[in-house]
Symmetry: C2
Subunit: 379 residues, 2 copies
């Protein structure tokens, strides 16, 4: 549903001068940039694909707008271009891998492939990964299970932005949960949600619009709910307290402790179970405040549907459930009930034909990266 919100806000922002780029062109450009920075062709291809898929699906915050972070990470040694990814521990159903500080997407794809292989052989597969970096959209990996008609699970922890219930400081990432489930109909079910109410990018949009935040999105440096987007960003960027609120908002009245619990759960499975960083230890720094290599953790799971019931029966039942949900009467003023992933699939279909609209700032950034790396910019 992210892209829907993003689209609505894009309209409000009335962005002029967007550049429309075809997905293939964008992917090729990104791949070349990664290759120039020493990444293997295979890893460059995977990472480019993860970024461009995010843009295709309308999740621009995780698309090529992030290329700068990846480029800087590779250049400054925060991210290893040629990591030696190793298996630390393995059983017939589980694997722990160490990403050796590599880019998140290739580590994620490798982890999910391993989980799928296990599921093929034994019905289920679980892989935890440590010493990784930002892996883009969680849904990319969960959806890898769909081509086998398996159920896919993908979780990651992330840099601290979210304040625990009754806390004052950000101690958890937006720690997303993605689960992809095959169906027989138009689209599979693809849940891909941050466990915070909103991502940081939403606060930035509101700041640009000079709009008050709804109460329940963020808290100030005292841990009190606030509507001041500028203050929240200032505080977050300077580690002065406050931050995003977990799903359910501030305190317990609207269930904020539940979002906090989901964020903790993701951190346990991604960080504590893997031996990666967790809470405020994911992005460590030297005593002088210089950033050290990150230690992001991921968790991947795959369940074969036919471990429980035949896939055709399952898909027919999924379709019936989806139909029931979509056919139920709509709230006043609403025309449609969505199933998770549906908006993103529709956006991707449209953008595969019409191309991906890029914000002028993103285009300027890509041009600068092209110049710095010597990759021809012909977007």
């Amino acid at each position: 549903m992210k892209n829907y919100i993003a689209r609505r806000e894009k309209k409000e922002l009335k962005i002029k001068g967007e550049t429309i780029v075809q997905a293939d062109t964008l992917k090729t450009f990104c791949r070349h940039v990664f290759e120039k920075l020493g990444v293997s062709t295979e890893d460059a291809d995977v990472t480019a694909d993860v970024l461009v898929q995010a843009d295709l699906r309308g999740i621009g915050s995780h698309g090529v707008a992030r290329l700068r972070r990846y480029v800087n990470g590779l250049r400054e040694g925060q991210m290893a271009a040629m990591p030696n990814v190793t298996v630390v521990h393995e059983t017939s159903t589980t694997t722990l891998i160490d990403g050796d500080g590599g880019l998140g997407p290739p580590i994620g794809v490798q982890g999910m492939r391993m989980a799928i292989e296990k599921a093929k052989e034994i019905g289920v597969g679980f892989v935890a990964a440590r010493n990784s970096n930002h892996y883009g959209i969680a849904g990319y990996y969960a959806m890898m299970a769909l081509e086998h008609e398996y159920i896919g699970i993908s979780l990651t922890n992330a840099d601290v932005l979210v304040v625990p219930t009754f806390g004052r400081n950000a101690m958890l990432g937006t720690n997303p949960i993605s689960v992809a489930v095959p169906s027989g109909g138009d689209y599979p079910f693809v849940l891909d949600m941050a466990t915070s109410v909103i991502p940081k990018g939403k606060i930035e949009v509101y700041q640009k619009l000079n709009k008050e935040l709804p109460i329940g999105w963020a808290s100030d440096e005292l841990g009190i709910a606030t509507t001041d987007s500028g203050q929240v960003l200032h505080n977050l960027n300077n580690k002065m307290g406050g931050g995003l609120l977990p799903l359910g908002g501030v305190g317990e009245v609207m269930g904020g402790h539940k979002g906090y619990g989901l964020a903790l759960l993701v951190d346990i499975l991604c960080g504590v179970l893997s031996g990666a960083g967790y809470a405020d230890t994911i992005y460590p720094k030297t005593p002088d405040g210089e950033p050290l290599p990150a230690n992001v953790g991921h968790f991947f799971g795959v369940l074969r549907v036919d471990g429980f019931r035949p896939i055709q029966e399952f898909k027919a039942t999924m379709d019936d459930m989806i139909r029931r949900m979509k056919d139920t009467p709509k709230a006043e003023g609403q025309q449609r009930i969505y199933i998770h992933g549906e908006k993103e699939f529709e956006t991707a279909e449209e953008r595969m034909i019409k191309g991906i609209p890029l914000h002028p700032k993103v285009v300027a950034d890509l041009k600068a990266i092209a110049e710095e790396t010597g990759v021809g910019y012909d977007l």
Copy 2:
């Protein structure tokens, strides 16, 4: 955290005339009632334990206050006293069981035991159950994994009370998610949360207090957020539309689509994957509106920690994460940051010593059940 809220509201209600009953006494009474209704001693014991554990943990809504529903279900044939629980399908990592319409708790315990056995042998285990009934607190089953120092997962679907995002009618249950994770410290992590903002019982409490509901808890018969507790209950009880809102509230602004997605996910794993009911098919009725046996589904999962890393390392890391979370500065006016399960464990410790306070209405109900079944009431 449920019990904390319950306790606060209990104070607001200023209930007089509560009866304090020891857990053992209460459990023995419930067991005898079930036995009188034809349930085997083992199943009666399990069901009594699940109910009393809920009361001990401060989750009165799922405690002996539910005994009446179980008694009526057994008497009226909605619940089978002596079900023939069968294994429908089994692999080395997964099992599908059919509960034959039995009481939820024995089916749940059997399912979770099977998942634990699989995990013992092969590292992980997953069990889906169909043709079951209400199984009480989801956390009971997740916590069964803790005595083996495994991670436990327990999900169930439930009768429709929750309205999907942009919908008008309740189409999903409060579909809880429970995950229990061992730690080395005082308490394990036990997340046990409905995927709705609040349970129906909270609306009932507000109605008794004649208090306005916070916006975001419930919607009216048009699917619009409402503060009118009486109307919400009237509508729900008469299937007139509206109901509880998913975690995140109405629409998408506060993330209601995320809570809706979690509720759908639980329904997929419990209902669609098992062949149980799902959405509005869990509690079917005859064309005349007479209730037919329910078809509730559950989903259980167990992960061995040592499939990833040594349990001692894991527990030490859990303790560090918990310490970091609890030691972080508190929001203004707050004294304590909680880890999930902590409040319930503290309540249970207190109630094991002091006894369980029962509301006069619950006591009256238990007395009536004692009379009807001929079980001596000596609470």
